[in-house]
């Protein structure tokens, strides 16, 4: 088996700006009203100071077995939805991204001051990490056609493969993502995903 290298990427906050529309969607809001505007701006500013974006990604082979089995270099997953997502792929990128633990603390802190501020900051942070994932997605692309990214926890893929993904990426040592006993990631604003690669080799 050819061993694929792990690629590490770090971005400054200057490169990554949370998408306002997306943040509003997370808030279940159409627009910002009155004082919300000010809270949003203030939260964004503080978020920018706190976020440190880091990601690792690595290519894995993809083969299918049985009705819904998928074999990666790091583990096997049985899932209809992921299998459908990876249709036609012989390989996939696996990636993990995080905005760091200072963001967790910021959300905690702002929530203590005001639930509204905390909630808005949380939604901004969710949007920020998504924007960063898109950014990494673009970097991985390099002219390839990639499938939409698929994160464990969605569809019928349980979170139980998180450990294998993170250790395949050496994500703890490289970017500081850890798992709780319930397979949740800390820092909270972290994402793992599998991105199928079409038309290669």
């Amino acid at each position: 088996m050819k061993e694929n290298p792990i690629i590490l990427h770090t971005s400054s906050c200057a490169e990554i700006t949370p998408d306002k529309k997306m943040a509003l969607r997370f808030m279940d809001c159409k627009e910002l009203f009155g004082d919300m505007e000010e809270i949003y701006e203030e939260s964004s500013e503080e978020y920018k100071k706190a976020a440190v974006f880091k990601a690792v990604y690595r290519k894995s082979s993809v083969t299918f077995f049985g009705e819904k089995g998928i074999r990666f270099d790091f583990c096997e997953i049985e899932s209809e939805s992921l299998r459908k997502n990876l249709e036609g792929c012989k390989s996939a990128f696996v990636f993990a991204a995080t905005s760091g633990s200072a963001v967790d603390r910021l959300i905690l802190r702002r929530t203590k001051l005001s639930a509204a501020d905390g909630f808005i900051t949380d939604c901004i942070a969710s949007s920020g990490i998504e924007v960063f994932c898109d950014f990494i997605n673009d970097e991985m692309k390099e002219g390839r056609t990639l499938k939409p990214r698929f994160s464990p926890g969605y569809g019928d893929v349980s979170l139980c493969c998180q450990g294998e993904i993170l250790s395949f990426l050496d994500a703890y040592r490289k970017i500081g993502i850890t798992l709780t006993e319930a397979y949740l990631m800390s820092p909270i604003k972290s994402v793992t995903a599998i991105v199928g690669i079409l038309e290669e080799e």
């Binding site: 061993e3 159409k30 603390r105 639930a115 319930a182």
Partner: protein
């Protein structure tokens, strides 16, 4: 010669990377390297031997990840690892007397609470187990390395100190920003580790020698302990699909020579380095002159991110987390309202203090747990160092133990009994201790008398090995109304004690004005005078503009405020008369009452102001029933009709809470309290609590009594709280599919033990069907639905 003696005599060399060499010998991806101690002992011995031959004095066992989280056969792994290292020394043909075996201790790969789910004491336990095994099997020292979090580093070092007598070296892994992953600066780590009495400290992994140079320089500059530097072989890069490092042995050793010349005393390598790297480094540095580490005499206190150096510019210590003379604060303590304490902390930080004093003692509460919980909560959201302020030894010890940094310890005095209690704690956990110049005979009336007590305390500290840089003398400010000379004696004491004893000083300044009018004026002038006499720290009220103005003015006048920037910024909102300008509340001309409008719009301060205005013309109860409650109802309806969104709902709830505060200030019993009690928790395993927090805010503003158990709460804890509090309703939140199991378990337990208690569940992944299946009384799709359910 033992290694502690050798440390002060010559430059020492640690070995280099292990992982890379194991891979070359066939370690498979995913295979745990530590198992090779048992399966490939000869390979491990051989690697150790090659490092000894390259010139390493210290070889580190192949036990980086050897802990009970990863291994069931931990004892076998560690004893084999030590055996392999010992055999290498036996086989070594050089000077064996100067060869040492270090038990290697790496991070657990888990995030500690509050950000993760690993409790601090559990981490200490896990580290202790491995370290005890290492000591039993003959390690000469312990190396705690590649730590990326200050709190976990503290857990490991504490474990080492508690479970063996071996010397302990500690190295942290910094990233390109020059900080640990969880934010600590080198200076913060130096403060923490010196306090906990590590024997040598430094840096390893993550960076190559070039990138490490600046961090190494900081270590050498601030550390009074020998400094260790073990870089990677440069930064990783991919070549033909393989990870390679970009620095070779020659280049590595050239940079290491520079680092040795800076003053690093222990050199080694990390990922990607091989015996060749060590050999080249030894050759280039062995003949360089060596000077042992010297005491830098820096008084450092720290939080999880940064250190404050006391002795340069004046340091302000916020005094507001203290119940003395504060009705509202006492009430918060009795109710266990830690949020109130935290918000006092945040507000003081925003005013610009550098350190927070934390005093949460009241005779009728359990001070131990209150102090521990306050410290935990404060350090989860604030990065200011804390001054732990309690007269209770047990509370002080518990708080010092879980504090994430090197605290100020408030306080000891010249009484033998007090020193016997507190100084051993400072020795064990580290800290800078405040020494009050009072003893069994009282407070001396002269500066010289106070100095003598300070001298006595310093002598006692010496017995414990507590350096005088870690003692700050407080010569006590006394009321000038009681004695015309008292302020002068205090000021003279500050000067004399600094000059003669060479220690830093601190004062609680506001005592000076006791019993006199216009206290702030007196305090402010006294503060400037004290600074002029060399005062290093002032415990003061940062909410007083006069006091903060005095500080800003002193800084500007003494050339400590470049271009008077801070001064200008501070006074920019003041008008000519010295009053702060107030921005008038905009009024528009609608029929709605201004208070109702302010609440519906979610304007916090205006709601408070409007409530106060309303209270001048109508009865408090009518303000509640005719304005606040209707406003909340209006908001609730708008939300339910989807004409208002969640953030607005929250803002209105908080605005209403401000209005309630105004009413409460004139009327004790608002009569609004719903009789229902609600226990809230995010279920076991789940560390997301934003949803639960939103529900809490709304419930409270609709008048319910809420007991918030926090996140990651075990079913038994929920049951116990529901029982003890005689709760009517238990609300449970779960965000992830993996934690819905814990929710089912909690509901089942409650149904069995407390069938009369209603349960309401919610969270992103929940459905009505799931709620019915697990037997919950009600599924709430959002926070407002929970309120409506509770109102039934």
């Amino acid at each position: 010669m033992n290694i502690k003696e050798l440390l002060n005599k010559k430059r020492l060399y640690i070995d280099g990377g292990m992982g890379t060499l194991l891979q070359k010998r066939g370690l498979q991806p995913g295979e745990l390297p530590e198992t090779w101690n048992l399966t490939h002992p000869d390979d491990i011995t051989d690697i150790h031997l090659s490092y000894l031959r390259a010139g390493s004095n210290i070889i580190t066992t192949n036990t980086f990840g050897a802990n009970c989280l990863k291994f069931d056969n931990l004892s076998d792994i560690i004893s084999a690892a030590l055996k392999n290292a010992k055999r290498a020394i036996e086989l070594f043909d050089g000077n064996r007397d100067e060869c040492f075996i270090a038990l290697d201790v790496g991070p657990l790969g888990k995030m500690l609470e509050p950000l993760g789910d690993m409790p601090f004491e559990r981490a200490v336990e896990i580290f202790s187990e491995s370290i005890k095994l290492g000591a039993e099997n003959g390690a000469d020292l312990v190396i705690i390395e590649t730590m990326t979090d200050s709190y976990e580093t503290k857990a490991a070092l504490l474990a080492a100190k508690e479970s063996c007598d071996l010397p302990v070296f500690v190295t942290n892994a910094y990233d390109e920003t020059g900080k640990l992953l969880t934010g600590a600066s080198p200076k913060a780590m130096i403060a923490l580790l010196e306090g906990l009495r590590a024997d040598a400290i430094g840096i390893n992994c993550s960076l190559g020698p070039h990138q490490m140079k600046e961090i190494a320089r900081e270590y050498v500059k601030y550390s009074s302990l020998p400094v260790i530097v073990s870089p990677n072989a440069g930064m990783p890069r991919t070549e033909n699909g393989k990870t390679v490092f970009d620095v070779d042995a020659e280049e590595f050793s050239l940079v290491m020579k520079d680092i040795a010349e800076m003053g690093a005393a222990i050199l080694g390598g990390c990922c990607g380095t091989t015996p060749d790297f060590i050999k080249a480094t030894v050759e280039k540095t062995k003949n360089l002159p060596f000077s042992p580490a010297v005491n830098k005499n820096l008084t450092l206190v720290s939080s999880y991110t940064h250190a404050i150096e006391i002795g340069n510019d004046p340091v302000l210590i916020g005094e507001r987390i203290n119940p003395t003379g504060k009705k509202r604060f006492k009430e918060a303590l009795r109710q266990g309202d830690i949020n109130y304490i935290v918000s006092e902390g945040i507000a003081q930080e925003e005013k610009g203090v550098h350190i927070l004093d934390v005093n949460v003692g009241l005779p009728e509460i359990d001070e131990d747990s209150m102090l521990v919980n306050s410290v935990k909560e404060l350090q989860s959201v604030l990065d200011l160092p804390l001054q732990l302020d309690t007269a209770k030894k047990s509370a002080m010890e518990k708080a010092m133990r879980i504090y994430n940094g090197k605290p100020l310890v408030n306080s000891v005095n010249g009484k033998q009994e007090v020193m016997d209690e507190i100084l051993p704690l400072v020795k064990k956990y580290g800290g800078v201790v405040i020494a009050l110049t009072i003893d069994e005979t009282g407070i001396p009336e002269t500066a010289k008398g106070r100095m003598e007590i300070a001298r006595k305390i310093l002598l006692e500290c010496e017995k414990y090995g507590i350096d005088k840089k870690d003692v700050i003398v407080d010569p006590l400010a006394m009321a000038v109304s009681a004695n015309d000379n008292s302020a002068k004696i205090t000021l003279d004491s500050v000067k004399l004690i600094k000059e003669k004893l060479g220690v830093k000083t601190s004062l609680g300044v506001s005592n000076v004005s006791f019993g006199l009018p216009s206290r702030e004026t007196l305090n402010a002038y006294f503060l400037s005078l004290a600074f002029m006499n060399g005062l290093d720290c002032a415990i003061m009220n940062p909410f007083s503009d006069t006091m903060m103005g005095s500080y800003r003015t002193y800084m500007a006048l003494m050339g400590k405020d470049k271009s008077c920037t801070e001064y200008i910024d501070f006074f920019k909102d003041f008008t000519l008369t010295g009053e702060k300008g107030t921005s008038a509340v905009k009024s528009d001309y609608t029929n709605e009452k201004p208070l109702v409008r302010a609440i519906v719009k979610g304007l916090k301060e205006p709601s408070y102001d409007e409530a106060q205005k309303a209270l001048q013309v109508v009865e408090p109860l009518s303000v509640i029933n005719e304005q606040i409650v209707p406003a909340l109802d209006k908001v609730g309806k708008l939300f339910e009709e989807k004409k208002m969104y969640l953030p607005q709902l929250l803002m209105s709830a908080e605005a209403a809470s401000k209005a309630f505060d105004a009413v409460k200030s004139v009327m004790k019993d608002t009569g609004l309290k719903e009789s229902k009690k609600i226990v809230l928790a995010t279920v076991k395993g789940d560390i997301h609590d934003i949803g639960k927090n939103i529900v809490k805010v709304l419930l409270e503003n609709y008048g319910f009594t809420v007991i918030d158990l926090g996140k990651d709460v075990a079913p038994e804890t929920v049951l116990e709280a529901a029982k003890n509090e005689k709760a009517d309703i238990v609300g449970l939140s779960a965000l992830m599919t993996t934690t819905t199991e814990a929710m089912a378990e909690t509901v089942a337990l409650l149904r069995k033990e407390l069938p009369e208690v209603k349960t309401v569940v919610g969270g992103a992944v929940l459905t009505k069907e799931f709620a019915e299946k697990i037997g919950a009384t009600f599924y709430a799709k959002d926070a407002m639905e929970t309120v409506r359910f509770a109102q039934r």
